[in-house]
């Protein structure tokens, strides 16, 4: 066997949402605007509804907004999608995820109507077969989809990219992340102990990670643009959690990258497991460090090469059973090392975080779940003749 290189599965049938529509069939709404979901009678008080939702298996334990017809219709009315449009099929249930189901769960999570196109782009990205959501949703691992948002939509929707952007800062991003988590629970059917065998789970499985990239402070092109999508876009990554790297000492680019790379290379991560054929790595570099690194390495490929080189372990340091398995798989290279990712290009880098600097964050991959990038559709501008308002 030889090292498996990561190559996208060209030719797979990936879901492709239809173009946005203009719904101008009058004030009574269109026939297709009828909502098809089953109705349940419930107490509409938040506490009582939250208890009802938990009992029904819909909840995540936090307070939920009751998804009444009025709220769901209001959510949809601010967007340009028919509710019966199928956006994706999600494993393990292989059920159809319609715009209506997205809207219902988004309302429950407290997400704003303006977030629908971001939600759709995020959901289509993880529905791509190369994201391997089947494994992600069922595994014993704590993996969850983390999302990096690029483009002007970051400011329009308050997606954080500075202080506390990976969790803790108070923004609408938390509700967007929670909406995705509820959709994975209620539509995909991911339930711990039933369809998900996750041993520990993760804090990231409550409201996810929805962060922006601080493009304006990055010396390199935005992450999504480097992956072929300029402007408003979202990149999903099957993250096992976050790993913090502190460096209060280095001065030079190579020194920072050595500290980050070596810190990423711990033997028990999936990238070094004989059970996993390959893995990517996502690295968030803070703006202060990025500026220093960018001055010496304006070409991001040099950054990736440097990180990759240091994110490796000496095979002789592994226990023999582990080493033998990796050796049989041809993953020990001529220099006697095992590399976290097959190639430098698989080290994905973006810039975010507060101006205190000092830290980097690593997102280790589940393995066969490959990062996906999707454009975020822009709402149709309001008709000057007031056609939509009629």
């Amino acid at each position: 066997m030889t090292i498996e290189l990561i190559k996208p599965g060209a030719g797979r049938i990936a879901p492709a949402p239809r173009p946005l529509i203009r719904r101008d069939c009058g004030p009574a709404g269109c026939e297709v605007d009828w909502l098809a979901s089953r109705r349940h009678e419930a107490d509409l008080d938040v506490d009582a509804f939250t208890a009802f939702a938990l009992e029904s298996g819909w909840g995540d334990g936090l307070p939920l907004v009751p998804p009444t017809d009025t709220r769901v219709r209001a959510f949809l009315a601010k967007n340009d999608r028919y509710p019966d449009e199928v956006i994706a099929c999600f494993p393990p249930m292989q059920t159809e995820c319609t715009v209506e189901k997205i809207a219902i769960n988004a309302v429950m999570a407290g997400a704003q109507p303006e977030s629908l196109e971001l939600l759709i782009a995020a959901l289509t990205s993880i529905a791509d077969p190369d994201f391997e959501l089947y494994g992600v949703n069922t595994t014993t691992a704590p993996v969850y989809p983390a999302f990096v948002v690029n483009g002007p939509i970051r400011s329009e929707q308050g997606i954080p990219f500075g202080y506390g952007c990976l969790g803790g800062v108070a923004t609408r991003a938390a509700a967007i992340g929670r909406a995705i988590r509820l959709i994975l629970r209620n539509v995909a059917g991911q339930v711990p102990g039933v369809t998900s065998q996750t041993t520990f789970g993760s804090p990231g499985r409550i409201a996810g990670v929805v962060t922006g990239e601080w493009e304006e402070r990055s010396p390199w092109a935005p992450l999504a643009e480097r992956r072929g999508v300029a402007g408003n876009a979202v990149t999903s990554f099957g993250a096992m959690g976050t790993l913090n790297v502190i460096d209060t000492t280095s001065h030079r680019a190579r020194d920072f990258l050595e500290m980050i790379g070596k810190s990423l290379a711990y033997p028990g991560c999936n990238g070094f497991s004989g059970a996993v054929p390959f893995a990517e790595m996502l690295v968030a570099i803070n703006p202060i460090c990025a500026e220093i690194v960018g001055r010496e390495m304006p070409d991001l490929e040099d950054v990736q090469q440097c990180l990759w080189q240091f994110a490796s372990v000496d095979a002789s340091q592994l226990q023999s059973l582990h080493r033998d398995q990796l050796e049989q798989q041809g993953r020990i290279r001529a220099d006697g090392r095992i590399y976290l990712t097959p190639e430098p290009k698989d080290m994905l880098v973006f810039v975010c975080g507060g101006l205190g600097g000092l830290h980097a964050t690593g997102f280790h991959s589940f393995g066969t779940s490959l990062a996906q990038t999707r454009a975020i559709a822009s709402p149709i501008p309001a008709d000057p003749a007031g056609e939509r308002a009629r």
Binding site: S37, P92, K101, D130, Q197, P277
Partner: protein
Amino acid sequence: MARGMVLDPTATRNEDVASPGPDAGVLIGKRIGFRVDRMWRAWDWISEAWADRLRAAGASVSFWRSGGRSGEEGLRMDRELAEFLKTIDVAIVGLANCGSCTSWTVRDAITAARAGLPTTAVATANFETFAHEIARRGGRSGLRVHVLPYPLNERVRDDVTAIGESHFYPLLETMGARLAARNDAA
């Protein structure tokens, strides 16, 4: 407090095949295919032990090893599995011994069952319920699942081989299979 109607946030799947599918029947002369993986050495050892017993009974045996299921490798796996299923008469698919590997074991088993092959998935005890749940949600609640003890991969080879030997006839029962010589004699 006000009562009102709320919309159901869940989606359900209705179609299901509750049948276990055809019995494997008399195995002599049949082509038995094992689906193995790159995770569980214990499954390699057990499937090899079972393969020896099946060959001795007059069946032929082949193996297909599942790898990564995304990217180009994933596409190659899909193609290889489809080709492999064309070369066998009976499928034994394992090992359901973790979360993702149970889901992929069941998924590949369902693929084999949908191809019309007598199919049995093999799970360890801790993942038995999960395997049935995933099979149900995959639209094949009747999928045959043979259960090995857990933990399994943590044991040494001699112990694992002994477990495999002790499970050979129970496996045949799950498969709806018979070794012709034994039954003819009876």
